[in-house]
């Protein structure tokens, strides 16, 4: 029998717990609001940066005038710069940053490993090879993108097919990773082969430049190309995101908790591959985002995918658009984005590893 005092004490403990929980919930809500704010700010600031400088008040003026159909008070050059050059580039950077972060975050849960990045099943090297082949065969820009996208999907399909042949039902995840490594290496060798065969005066520089990754020639068409696969890839992941938590406990436990693991795994792989292949096909190989952004987001909002996925989406889009701002405005000559993301990403990752709270990596 509990004494009255004990009961009162228990009650007090309970209210205290509820209060602490609410407080914690509130903190994560604040963090999400701040992330939204940072992303919007990054979006707006990016318009002002670049060779042709435009002030933030001008930008807001133009947006508001356009929105309410007021008459134009700015020059045609400004209009062209904003609407034909900067908007597509900024939107593409944000979409790609978000897409790569999402697929990285999902793969880390799926493969129960925080060291996994979106190219683990061969999507990037497949897409890279698709682009190289298209450049070698003198396809146009759209041809290069389509070929790259399809080869990206194809590489992952190949990985999936081979690993299902190998079987080993009880070790499906490990077999997938190993096959992915093999397929990745295979397509990387194919890329080297196309470089070797390419005409060193015209094709080889084009291939090399494409592989470095960048958004320097992004047009509205590219943004539209990105929009469909990224939307199709993002929506199911957003809907299923809580279940990815369960998947990160391993196949057997997830099954015993009632999840059809092979189906969920397939859906996550298809969606993540759509995101990665679409990104690589438009901007080339841009590394590190899918690895570090989920880490950074996990440090901010915790490991629960319910919050982690939206946070990764926001942080990823803000991060890539800001890095792209640096790429296009730091030096007179634009730095390839892929090089810059690695240059910033690698030391930043070390910083996260050093600073990271124990267990948050």
């Amino acid at each position: 029998m509990h004494s009255v005092n004990e009961l009162r004490l228990e009650g007090r403990i309970k209210t205290f717990d509820d209060a602490s929980l609410k407080k914690e919930k509130k903190t994560t809500n604040y963090i999400m609001v701040i992330l939204v704010f940072i992303t919007v700010a990054a979006f707006l600031i990016s318009f002002t940066l670049g060779r042709y400088s435009i002030s933030i008040t001008d930008i807001l003026n133009i947006f508001i005038s356009k929105l309410f159909g007021l008459k134009t008070t700015w020059s045609d050059t400004v209009e062209t710069v904003i609407f034909n050059v900067r908007i597509p580039r900024i939107l593409a950077a944000m979409l790609i940053g978000a897409a790569l972060s999402l697929s990285g975050a999902c793969y880390q849960g799926l493969f129960k490993n925080p060291m996994v990045s979106p190219d683990i099943l061969g999507a990037s090297s497949g897409a890279g090879f698709g682009a190289c082949i298209a450049i070698l065969m003198s396809f146009g820009l759209v041809g290069i993108q389509v070929s790259s996208f399809l080869f990206g999907l194809g590489a992952v399909a190949l990985t999936f097919f081979i690993s299902s042949l190998i079987g080993k039902k009880n070790n499906a995840v490990l077999v997938l990773i190993l096959t992915g490594m093999v397929v990745s290496t295979l397509f990387s060798s194919f890329i080297s082969l196309t470089k070797y065969l390419a005409d060193p005066n015209s094709k080889l520089p084009a291939i090399t430049f494409w592989l470095m990754g960048g958004l320097n020639s992004t047009s509205t068409k590219d943004v539209l190309m990105l929009l469909a696969p990224i939307t199709i890839g993002t929506i199911p992941l957003a809907l299923l995101r809580w279940k990815i938590n369960v998947l990160s406990f391993g196949d057997e436990e997830a099954k015993s908790l009632g999840i059809n693991t092979s189906r969920l795994r397939l859906i996550v792989i298809i969606c993540s591959t759509l995101l990665t292949a679409a990104s690589v096909s438009v901007c080339g190989m841009i590394g590190w985002i899918g690895l570090i952004i989920p880490h950074l987001s996990r440090m901010l909002v915790g490991p629960n995918y319910k919050l982690l996925l939206p946070a990764s989406f926001l942080v990823g889009s803000a991060y890539l658009v800001l890095v792209d701002d640096i790429a296009r405005s730091l030096f007179p000559l634009e730095i390839p984005l892929g090089i810059l993301t690695s240059l910033i990403g690698a030391p930043f990752f070390i910083y996260l590893l050093v600073k990271g709270k124990k267990g948050w990596i």
Partner: protein
Amino acid sequence: MKLDIIRATCGYGKKKVAENISLSVQSGEVLCLLGPNGVGKTTLFKSILGFLRLMDGEIVLNGENMIKMSKSKLAKVVGYVPQAHTPPFPYTVLDVVLMGRTAHLGMFSSPTDNDRRIAEEALDTLGISFLKDKIYTEISGGERQMTLIARALTQEPDILIMDEPTSNLDFGNQIRVLERINMLSKKGLAVIMTSHFPNHVFLCSTKVALMTKNLFKVGSVDEIVTEENLRSAYGINVKITSTVDESGNIIKACIPLIN
């Protein structure tokens, strides 16, 4: 609630690991599976949980063939408590326990306040509410084992299947886990567990299955846990002795002898 395993043969691929196994468990019973390493206890467990296909025989749950049940239907009846382990991400204990609700949620849903309440009740039942906001990867092995039991309870199952729930725990935590198992079986749960400690059988089991390379015996504790059976199963000499607790109950214990 009743689980029947009827002449089951289980194994990997074409390799038979355990043959012709029959047993049944019902509400309120605790069946403990004893046996030396490598006789197929884990394989049998994996078959009961549906991770492995039976090579022969069948498993019947409340009159329904278990193989035909969907994963989520199964998860509402059978709760699995794996050995405590470390997941890759630092979830809070409440997050981990809430994952027990998976089978009760729709395809695209995440836990609601009601699910949260059920999870908190499970923590309360086991007396570990204070762990709620702790980080699962940072608590002790015993606390982690308790958390996994709470997660299984959150599934609201009729049967708990526990894989060596007392291994890797200190002396006190072993007994505390056994106390909880007793309490849960009194509440009407059926429990199947494996153990490497014959003494634990005396403390909480109503039924024992002894599994050796070529023998499978099921029966009451006194029938199965005998000096002779333990000697033949584990290949060591064992004496069974007994003592009386404060309320006059006789408690048996095995003492291994070193030659």
